[in-house]
């Protein structure tokens, strides 16, 4: 409470609200009490700072209001920047020197490395190289023979089976039904080869020797059902 009263007195004194009598008395108190004197000095400084703060705050407000008002009226328009591009340019200008140093250092390292490799690698003479290429040739030939054997194994024709007849047929259903001539089927099984050369196992479902027609069905795990057969089949009596 005392603090507050003292502060009030000081503020009245500093703002000149005191009567001349009161002022003389207070100045006497100030002279005799250094603590109060110090408080007056301090408060004077504070009020000065407060006034500066107040003035500046008011100017700031005026500036802000004026700016917003003019901006709303379309006095200026912010420059639209292509931000990502802008960033890249910024990065480039910022790290230009770093890039240059890094690049030249990288080039230097590359040259040194190749020089070291050249220096350290053993030199080969002609005969050694010849031997090496011959060995590679032998390996290549072996591989070709093996590849050939592998192709033979892959065929779906049983090894001891004899191909007794052959003919052509066509797919009538995506499930793998094939129509062909009955006379081309001379056994109880069949191998179908599609247009791409893939071999598939097929079963004879029905064969009509009178009309010389037979129905085959592909039964093979490798058979991939097409989405549709590449031609249309219509119910119509043919007219020769």
């Amino acid at each position: 409470m005392e603090d507050i009263q003292l502060l009030e007195t000081i503020e009245r004194y500093l703002s000149g609200e005191m009567s001349s009598e009161e002022t003389i008395q207070f100045e006497l108190t100030r002279k005799n009490n250094s603590e109060i004197d110090q408080m007056v000095v301090e408060h004077k400084l504070f009020l000065h700072q407060m006034e500066a703060y107040a003035q500046r705050k008011i100017v700031q407000q005026t500036a802000q209001q004026t700016f917003n008002h003019l901006l709303a009226e379309g006095e200026w328009s912010p420059l639209e920047l292509d931000l990502p591009k802008y960033k890249v340019i910024q990065l480039w200008t910022k790290y230009k020197k770093t890039f240059a140093i890094a690049a030249s250092f990288g080039g230097f390292i590359a040259i040194i490395t190749s020089l070291i490799v050249m220096y350290l690698s053993p030199s080969l003479n002609g005969t050694q190289l010849l031997q090496l290429s011959k060995a590679v040739e032998v390996i290549k030939k072996n591989q070709q023979v093996q590849g050939h054997l592998l192709n033979e194994v892959k065929s779906k024709v049983p090894e001891n089976a004899k191909l007794i007849s052959g003919g052509s047929g066509f797919l009538i259903d995506i499930k793998g039904f094939i129509i062909t001539n009955a006379h081309v089927l001379k056994g109880d099984g069949a191998i179908v080869i599609d247009s791409k050369g893939q071999e598939l196992n097929a079963k004879i479902i029905y064969s009509d020797i009178n009309n010389d027609l037979a129905l085959l069905k592909i039964e093979d795990k490798d058979y991939v059902q097409p989405k549709n057969i590449p031609y249309a089949i219509r119910h119509k009596i043919s007219d020769l």
């Binding site: 507050i4 003019l70 006095e75």
Partner: protein
């Protein structure tokens, strides 16, 4: 010849009137300054790694610096307002770029500028004091902050403040104001050094 000198005189008088207006916080003067010079600063900042909002902040700060300078008793402006504002903005923007670590190449500009180092030194001190007061006021909390702002910034009377805040009378308001003031002074002087 005579015509030219009259025109220069006219322009000079205009500038003087403008500065007087700024010193009195006249919004017409502030508007004239914005209309006359902001576009130049916008152009400058946007061409030197900044955006529109940066230009807005920088220009406002420069205008306050000019205001502070006009307030001084020893005030003399030795160049055009345009040149002065631009020089301050350039100084402030360089500093900002430096703080952000963005500055690498010389600023691109064709505007002439003067050295504002001395003025800026004074301005920065004032700005520091302003920031301390601002922080102190903001950490007071309500209603202390608004009460003191009402009294010291908006210069309202005790009775008006009593009505605004709902105190029963002016004396109670005054008492409350001094309580708040004690707290504010403590906060302010904890950070403010007279020697600085």
């Amino acid at each position: 010849m005579i015509q030219i000198s009259i025109n220069t005189l006219k322009a000079e008088l205009n500038e003087q009137a403008l500065l007087k207006g700024l010193a009195q916080n006249d919004s017409k003067a502030v508007e004239t300054l914005y209309k006359g010079h902001f576009a130049m600063i916008q152009h400058f900042v946007e061409n030197n790694n900044g955006c529109f909002d940066d230009a807005r902040d920088i220009f406002q700060e420069a205008m306050i610096a000019l205001y502070e300078k006009v307030q001084l008793d020893s005030f003399v402006l030795t160049c055009q307002i345009k040149t002065y504002l631009f020089s301050i903005c350039k100084h402030l923007w360089l500093k900002r770029l430096h703080q952000l670590g963005k500055y690498s190449s010389p600023l691109s500009t064709h505007e002439e500028s003067i050295s504002v180092e001395t003025d800026m030194g004074i301005f920065e001190k004032k700005e520091a004091a302003f920031a301390i007061m601002d922080r102190a006021l903001n950490s007071l909390g309500e209603p202390c902050k608004s009460l003191l702002e009402g009294y010291y910034i908006n210069k309202k009377g005790m009775q008006e403040l009593a009505n605004q805040f709902g105190y029963t009378n002016a004396d109670n308001t005054k008492n409350q104001k001094y309580k708040c003031l004690l707290r504010l002074k403590k906060l302010f002087f904890a950070q403010y050094n007279i020697g600085d």
